[in-house]
């Protein structure tokens, strides 16, 4: 991968976010209170003179970390976010891909239908997972949220696929080109507020955040953003090594994304 500087990554992301706002009638963004979606919101604020001009959705299955809830509460107030908390019903068979593959997409479908959103900004990155590298900047989903990854239009000369052929919606991915260390460097540069779970306490920190039952911390002494950047410069461990669903089998993420997972 060609190493890109933060300025060009920022410019491209802001361009994509502005394009989404311009091309679609009713845009929303997903916010998990993690580093990527919080960075996406910071980029959105930069794109729209300090405001986030569309609703921000949190799919809440009610067993997120208390620190995550506190972060949501504080930042939503500070950044004046139009926050939609979509409560995902707690069900048995919650663990790993069943939770992310059924419960969360079902809740998202419901909230998208209720509000009539035709575009959804999602903060995935290509370097996170093999299947995410198949994504486009603007990627259509059918009304069942299905993603036909084998049949995607090319995106040449910034001509993004924004036309909806079905009654579905378009996923917008402004952070596709970023990698994990770019995100942390940008967080440092822009002094973006961050979920405290990312920082080490008692020798552990969370590198990738999900719900309490499917996320485990990694051993790390990185107590601030600079130390995280330093750690990432030398680590050989995968970012999502603490996420249980990624370990179920090689194609689980492909299946999840095909059927609507974020």
């Amino acid at each position: 991968m060609i190493k890109q500087d933060l300025k060009s990554l920022e410019e491209k992301s802001i361009y994509i976010i502005r394009e989404a706002k311009l091309k679609f009638n009713n845009v929303a963004a997903l916010w998990s209170m993690g580093k990527d979606s919080t960075t996406m919101l910071a980029l959105t604020r930069k794109a729209f003179l300090g405001k986030v001009p569309f609703p921000v959705i949190h799919i809440d299955n009610s067993i997120d970390f208390p620190e995550t809830y506190k972060f949501r509460q504080d930042l939503a107030k500070k950044w004046h976010l139009n926050l939609i908390v979509a409560r995902s019903e707690i069900k048995p068979d919650l663990v790993g891909s069943a939770c992310c593959g059924k419960n969360k997409p079902e809740t998202l479908k419901k909230v998208m239908k209720e509000h009539g959103f035709d575009a959804l900004i999602v903060s995935i990155r290509r370097d996170e997972h093999g299947i995410r590298s198949k994504e486009r900047y603007m990627s259509p989903r059918d009304k069942e949220f299905r993603w036909d990854f084998k049949n995607q239009p090319a995106e040449l000369w910034d001509d993004y696929s924004s036309k909806l052929d079905t009654a579905g919606h378009v996923r917008v991915h402004p952070l596709l080109d970023w990698n994990e260390i770019d995100i942390w460097r940008y967080i440092k540069q822009e002094n973006i507020p961050m979920n405290p779970l990312y920082f080490s306490r008692n020798g552990y920190r969370y590198r990738s955040l999900g719900c309490t039952h499917c996320t485990i911390p990694i051993k790390s002494g990185a107590k601030n953003v600079s130390e995280i950047i330093k750690e990432l410069e030398t680590t050989k461990t995968e970012e999502r090594s603490g996420r249980s669903m990624d370990k179920e089998n090689e194609y689980v993420m492909q299946r999840l994304r095909e059927f609507g997972y974020m």
Binding site: N61, S62, Y69, K70, I90, P92, V95, R201, G203
Partner: protein, 97 residues
């Protein structure tokens, strides 16, 4: 019996919204600073009992176990997670013995 013990008892008997609110208000006053979630069935939440049998251990600033409470809140027949009632606490990772 201390106030937090009474509130814990009430929560164990009836983990409803009202009892969770009372418990949540008294968390900081009772010196609780950390939480640790212990999932039943080693985190494989396959049945509703795996959720309703999961607990939260609550510790003070010196990592002494103060009490344990259920992880869930019950409203009629509906079961939800209760971690939002623990806002203000920090997760306890690793061995702090």
């Amino acid at each position: 019996m201390s106030n937090i013990e009474k509130l814990t008892e009430a929560l164990r008997r009836t983990p409803n919204d009202k009892n969770w609110k009372s418990f949540s208000k008294n968390l900081k006053k009772s010196g609780i600073e950390y939480y640790k979630i212990i999932f039943a069935n080693e985190g494989k939440l396959n049945r509703m009992q795996d959720i309703t049998k999961s607990i939260v251990e609550l510790y003070d600033s010196k990592y002494r176990l103060i009490t344990t409470v259920p992880l869930f809140i019950k409203t009629g027949k509906k079961v939800d997670g209760a971690t939002s009632y623990l806002i203000g606490l920090s997760v306890l990772n690793g061995d702090q013995k």
